[in-house]
Amino acid sequence: MRIIESLKFDMPDERFELLERESGSIPHASANGEEFRNERVHGAESIGASIDETEQRLRVAFHTAINTDVIFRKFRSGSGCRVLLVYMNGMADDSIVSRFVIAPLMQSNERFAADIGGLLSKVIEIAETEVETDLRKVKASVMDGMTAVFIEGCCASVLVESRGFEKRSVSEAQNERIVQGPKESFTEALRTNITLLRRIVKTEDMIVEYGKVGRENKTRTALVYRAGFTDETLISEIKSRLARIKTDIAIGIGIIDQLIEDDSIFPIPRTLSTERPDRAASHLMNGSAVLLAEGSPFALVMPITLASLMNSPEDVYMRRPVGTLLRAVRYVGAAISVILPGYFIALAMYHQGLISTEVLSTIIKSREMVFEPLPFEMLLLLFVFQLIREAGMRVPGSIGQAIGVIGGLILGQAAVAANLASTVILIVVALSGLGNLCIPDYSTQVGTSYLRIAFVIAAWLGGLLGLATALMLFIAYMANVKSFGVPFLSPFAPKTFSRRPPFIRGRIGLRSKPADYNNTAEESALE
């Protein structure tokens, strides 16, 4: 549908531009980020003065006849006021509710029906409280683990922070492991993740803006950025994209990522999904924004460039020459991964003159008994590689490793023995696979692994010319792509301010300046 839309003539180009806008203001951006709350415009649902009526309404809304998870606790306070407490069993911590809400209320002699402020300042012993008059928001907060306190005769509710559900403790990063540097990773708890970030980013300008995404399930999200430093247009663009999410269900950061990205055709991601707090914090300090979601052990960093997808946190923890070498190896590995299978097919099928006689005879000899044509053989082995990788990912740790060994060694050897594959092609595919695994970002790994299949087909159809055409199209498309307004290939093209090519790791002391392409307030001041 998007392709058809983009092909319509005489339609304005509404791509969001952060650095280079042709004219006018950013489309759809809300000035103050109000829309981030993403509320359906149905009007507020007021709270009645009678707690019996409120209880009845809530019981109907939560289907308490069959749903026994919601706890309704009615009692009289020390002064004789009727009080109703509503919270979700399992989501709220019972001991917090008993010790810091029920007990003080029962002991209090204050009459606070007309003075809800008194209840907050003198009775409830919890720091994080909020007065709410909209019953819809109260229901959402109860679902989220908060406790709602209703007082007879008062048309408002006090929401008390009492979340206390079970959660996984902070553990070691599974997908972005490094040898040197911190080991901890994000968890499924939003609050814990924010704390992990705050422990690293100790600047007073770090802002955490909460919001809800999804019309029905309302996943809690937190947009983290540095106020007065991160580009304001970027922040308002992210907020406006979040506000435009129309879907009913948005579970996890992976779905939210797809709902706010520029387009879904491009195989390489336009946001960085990381499980490492240090990596997210580094981008945050550099002027990017980070999005966290309840239930997702990943942070979404935006905007990003190809260079940031190719960097690993390890680069900066290692000494400079080693870090540079690691980066260079990674770039070469990625290039091998994408180009080598297609290049081999092009040479072997169309341009044998470019291969030396010795190598050519080795190839011919190794393929003597193989029954399928060369490109089929390559595609088959690439598919088998994907198969092994997928199987290895889906089964538990040690068995997954065993599958890799079985697939790589035994299956490969058996395939050669059974004349299903030749040794040369096996080496090419293995090299390409190894190169692919050098790419630090998982989504980029998967994207490029499918891309090389496209390059093999292009080389099969047109030899080096076909491969060159496919590469040209790919590079041109990458040059056109933007991540939240930032050109995806910067600082390569456009050449933004940088002391060195991104594959050379700089001196730590010189890294205090934020990335130019992020257009931070510091950059603007320097201009």
Binding site: F9, D10, M11, P12, D13, E17, L19, E20, E22, Y350, H351, G353, L354, I355, S356, G462, G463, L464, L465, G466, A468, T469, M472, L473, I475, A476, Y477, A479, N480, P487, L489, F492, A493, P494, K495
Partner: protein
């Protein structure tokens, strides 16, 4: 408006213009004309580039003086609408011809050296598909892609020249001025047409280059770079082949290693080099065709550039097909020779339009003040 112009910096603009100028200077030539009077291309081509730069700067100053944003606006302001359209169409066809010219050389090279069994139209499909897509993505993408390809193109160019250096012989450069001063001047004047379209393209997209002053800087930088590239290429070719050999050779830079080191290991590189240079030709053609479409869209008030792009790419493809696939193309070849010979004169109506526009603008300013 959907003109897909975007905004490009100095380095990206310089890369796009340099690749276009260098591709034109190194590949888009008729050997018989260029080396007819001796081995003098290594200094006549840089001289032609410098003349193109002078015309470019003059036009840029006129654009600035008249208050126009780009060349298209300058032409439209100069006279009445029909005159503006005529001049625009003249430039439009000039740019399409400039896009066709290097692609034609590469198409023949690919057919003759890589894919003898394949038809021209099939090879053309692989060349025109990226041209169309890149043009559709707009000038910003063209400039950024050019920036990315600039370094590999330069590396391949230098490595080819360095690998041929063992065969350099100074005596092959003679005669350096075979036809005398007249022939040198004629060649310099004629070759201006090779480089002028790139400069015109730069002026057409000047509003996407952060203004006309930035465009002037880009023009100057790219002229210097491509003058050096063209001089180096022609000098290397001249040092390896005599001018009589060059008269017979097709794409001599490609053959520089192929002929002399047939058995050497490096001969395997020449096909790869040709493929890399093809990318330069594709980018250069995209730049010309986008600019041609921009001129067309400006003159006819098109709000969306893509129909014009589709038409320009189609036109260039048809020219290539007409040259290669028709049985009798002598008329077409003769016509293209004429364009090569007298193409430089296209600068005059554009300059006249520019001067007229600047004068009109001055008059308007005076009337406004009084």
């Amino acid at each position: 408006m959907n003109l897909r112009l975007g905004c490009s910096g100095i380095k990206e603009g310089t890369a796009a213009a340099s690749i276009s100028l260098s591709t034109a200077g190194v590949f888009a030539h008729e050997a018989k004309k260029l080396y007819a009077g001796g081995n003098m291309a290594y200094y006549t081509l840089p001289a032609s580039i410098l003349i193109s730069l002078l015309i470019f700067v003059l036009l840029a100053k006129l654009i600035k003086r008249s208050g126009a944003g780009n060349l298209s606006e300058l032409i439209c302001q100069s006279a009445d609408r029909p005159t503006g359209i005529v001049i625009t169409l003249l430039l439009f066809f000039t740019l399409i011809f400039s896009a066709y010219s290097p692609l034609s050389q590469f198409l023949k090279a690919l057919h003759g050296l890589f894919f003898q069994g394949a038809s021209y139209s099939r090879i053309l499909l692989y060349i025109m598909a990226p041209v169309l897509l890149i043009c559709f993505l707009g000038f910003e993408t063209i400039a950024r892609t050019a920036k990315l390809f600039a370094v590999p193109l330069m590396i391949v160019f230098l490595s080819v020249i360095v690998s041929a250096s063992s065969d350099f012989e100074v005596y092959r450069l003679f005669p350096t001025a075979g036809g005398g001063l007249k022939s040198i001047l004629t060649q310099i004047f004629r070759e201006v047409f090779t480089f002028l379209p790139a400069m015109i393209s730069l002026l057409t997209v000047s509003d996407g280059l952060n203004g006309i002053d930035s465009a002037i800087r880009i023009g100057a930088a790219s002229c210097l770079i491509s003058a050096a590239v063209c001089a180096a290429a022609q000098l290397a070719v001249g040092l390896v082949f005599t001018y009589r050999q060059l008269n017979e050779l097709f794409m001599p830079l490609f053959r520089i290693n192929h002929l002399n080191k047939f058995e050497a290991h490096l001969m395997r590189m020449d096909k790869l080099a040709n493929i890399v240079w093809l990318n330069g030709a594709v980018l250069s053609a995209s730049f010309y065709l986008y600019s041609a479409s921009r001129l067309f869209a400006g003159a006819f008030g098109l709000r969306d550039i893509r129909p014009a792009i589709a038409a320009s790419v189609m036109l260039a493809a048809l020219m290539l097909l007409f040259e290669t696939e028709t049985v009798d193309n002598t008329q077409f070849v003769r016509m293209s020779e004429l364009v090569f010979r007298y193409g430089t004169v296209t600068a005059f109506p554009v300059l006249a339009a520019g001067i007229l526009s600047a004068v009109r603008s001055e008059r308007r300013k005076k009337c406004g003040n009084s």
